[in-house]
């Protein structure tokens, strides 16, 4: 004899708390390891740092208990762990350059981490239902475009390393493209939910491909061409690849037409060939990709590869390798720094953690009850996956190197802010997705209830 019960959704907040403590423990151990290897002592500020991170994580956890009790229990611990390990590595590279915690990148990154997670908490408190966002479809789309255009403005725009993707005012630098990524994802999701039926059903077939009407596709094409055009003028090919991939993936998910993937890949192939012919710096990147060890060119990739080779299977151990030899060892090349010091085993663990975040995002998309939530969660998860692929693929010579930040780990405030906002949005959607139906939880039948005024807005 056996009984069968439907799966009762638990909030699993306690699981989250345990995993969060585990994640912070790993980060503190890594920090202690760096101190022991570099300075021969356990760092004096280990306790203060631990309490600081612990309090921040605990507050976030309590905000979730308060405002999104059914949110996914895994997102916060994984994001905390990745962010913390990134911090440790940035601090370790500061130490190698002879900079103390007060003068290097690490302190600023710590401040940004705190700011980003506070921003994520504020977002969770303010937005009680992600569907609110779909009300501002075009506002958010235009905001995204505006943010993308900002760096092209004369006074505040800044040219850094050949890309014009920064804005700065009073010693405070930001990459608005990172935030634009999120607002444009929301725009795509909200717009595609409204028009997906028209997109997939109405229209003519051209060469066996069903093409939608121009008026359905118009706004999205404009948004896409504008964002791509802007990115080409700003010479930031990594982001343009990210936007394009995100766009194609969301169209595919919304319409369930495989034709979009074929069209997207064709457009992508044509686009890369054209861009390769047009831009000298892209040609450089391709030669560097095909032959990173050739003399007379940048040895950044080569140094990264040699670092990872030096790490081998188990790594040299935190603080015992020489990852600082590579330029941008704490941002674009942070993965090779980890490869050198934690080895293949450590890097694989990090990649699995990214995969798990993405899986949680896609699972949230499956569980979400509304089309907008589904598309938004899928889009956000896919953008994270694509970003990790582009940056890790770039430094490991799978694809040509394009400048993108490694989510949660790279030094850089805007990227951290954007990724924590993504986590907040996914948490919000997953809360809605996992929350049990009202009919299931309430035992009284609907007919016995008193008539109520339902608040629509």
């Amino acid at each position: 004899m056996s009984t069968v019960t439907t799966h009762v959704t638990k909030t699993r907040r306690n699981t989250e708390l345990v995993l969060l403590a585990f994640a912070i423990g790993i980060v503190l151990l890594a920090y202690a390891n760096v101190g022991m290897a570099v300075q021969d002592t356990v760092p004096a500020d280990l306790g203060t740092l631990g309490i600081g991170i612990g309090v921040l994580a605990l507050v976030f956890h309590l905000v979730l208990r308060w405002r999104a009790a059914y949110a996914d229990p895994l997102l916060l611990p994984i994001a905390t762990l990745l962010n913390g390990l990134g911090l440790v590595m940035i601090h370790r590279i500061d130490l190698a350059k002879g900079e103390d915690i007060s003068e290097g990148f690490a302190l600023r990154q710590l401040e940004w981490s705190a700011l980003a997670s506070i921003a994520a908490m504020v977002l969770l408190v303010l937005i009680k239902d992600h569907r609110l966002l779909s009300r501002y479809t075009f506002t958010l789309g235009l905001t995204g475009l505006g943010l993308l255009l900002l760096p092209l403005l004369p006074v505040i725009g800044k040219n850094v390393n050949g890309s014009r993707i920064w804005i700065g005012f009073g010693g405070f630098n930001l990459q608005p493209g990172e935030i634009a990524k999120i607002t444009l994802t929301i725009f795509f999701a909200a717009y595609l939910v409204q028009t997906r039926d028209a997109l997939s059903l109405v229209g003519r077939r051209v060469l066996g491909f069903p093409l939608p009407r121009a008026r359905d596709l118009g706004p999205i094409m404009i948004a896409w061409l504008a964002s791509l055009g802007v990115l080409v003028f700003q010479k930031d090919l990594g982001s343009s690849l990210l936007f394009f991939g995100l766009f194609v993936a969301m169209l595919y998910v919304a319409t369930e037409r495989r034709a979009w993937i074929a069209i997207g890949l064709t457009l992508f192939a044509v686009g890369t060939v054209v861009a390769w012919k047009l831009f000298a710096h892209l040609q450089e990147r391709v030669t560097l990709w095909l032959d990173p060890f050739a003399p007379g060119q940048s040895d950044q990739i080569a140094k990264g590869l040699m670092g990872m080779a030096a790490g081998g299977m188990f790594g040299t151990g935190l603080g015992q390798g020489r990852p600082e030899e590579t330029y941008y060892a704490n941002s674009d090349f942070i993965m090779t720094s980890f490869g050198e010091e934690l080895g293949l085993i450590g890097v694989m663990a990090l990649l699995v953690l990214y995969a798990l975040i993405v899986e949680r995002g896609l699972r949230t998309g499956i569980g979400a009850r509304d089309g907008f939530g589904k598309l938004l969660a899928t889009g956000l998860a896919f953008s994270l996956a694509l970003q990790v692929f582009v940056v890790v693929g770039g430094v490991t010579r799978v694809i040509p190197l394009t400048g993108l930040t490694t989510p949660f780990m790279s030094a850089g405030g805007s990227s951290l802010l954007a990724n924590w906002v993504i986590v907040a949005l996914l948490l919000r959607i997953s809360d809605q997705a996992r929350r049990p139906d009202v009919q299931e939880s309430g035992n009284a039948s609907i007919g016995q209830d008193e008539t109520q005024v339902v608040k629509v807005r």
């Binding site: 004899m1 151990l29 290897a37 151990g317």
Partner: protein, 159 residues
């Protein structure tokens, strides 16, 4: 700090990283299953004689269906073994297959064994048990692949 300590911490860090990954995956497993089957207390004692009986079961039974699968409804994906004691279906918690279906009765139907195969009895349910379009009464014979509809739930006998 000695070399040994640093090495131990370094390897410990890697081990902990993977321990974290595996504990996360462990939590993930909960996602895979929509329903949960719990064995009732006391089933361990009765399992031995029933296994002996199974060995003695006539040919028609041995070649017939072995379990009942829910193919539609809120419990979709659940399977219940067909035991000699029979399977009682309904909303009542004492049933072997407890349906959370508003259109099912407390004790809705019973599937039981005879020497020549499996049969279903409708236990006087309000909304009826259906095989195809036909409302089932008493002693309705079932085969592998037979489908029964109870409220919004569809059951299928499988081998």
């Amino acid at each position: 700090m000695s070399e040994l300590t640093v090495t131990a911490i370094r390897l410990g860090l890697l081990a902990l990283l993977w321990a974290f990954v595996f504990s996360v995956v462990g939590v993930l497993r909960g996602d895979l299953y929509g329903t949960r089957v719990l064995a009732r207390r006391g089933s361990g004692g009765s399992s031995t004689p029933s296994r002996q009986e199974e060995r003695r079961a006539p040919r028609a039974i041995r070649r017939g269906p072995t379990h009942l699968a829910v193919t539609e409804g809120s419990l979709r994906g659940t399977t219940v073994p067909l035991t000699d004691a029979g399977v009682l279906i309904g909303r009542n918690p004492e049933c072997a297959l407890v349906l959370s279906d508003d259109f099912a009765s407390g004790r809705h139907a019973r599937i039981y064994r005879r020497d020549d195969g499996w049969y279903v009895d409708d236990l006087g349910s309000t909304n009826g048990t259906f095989a195809g379009n036909q409302r089932v009464g008493q002693e309705f014979k079932l085969d592998v692949g037979s489908r029964l509809r109870i409220g919004q739930t569809v059951l299928e006998l499988r081998k």
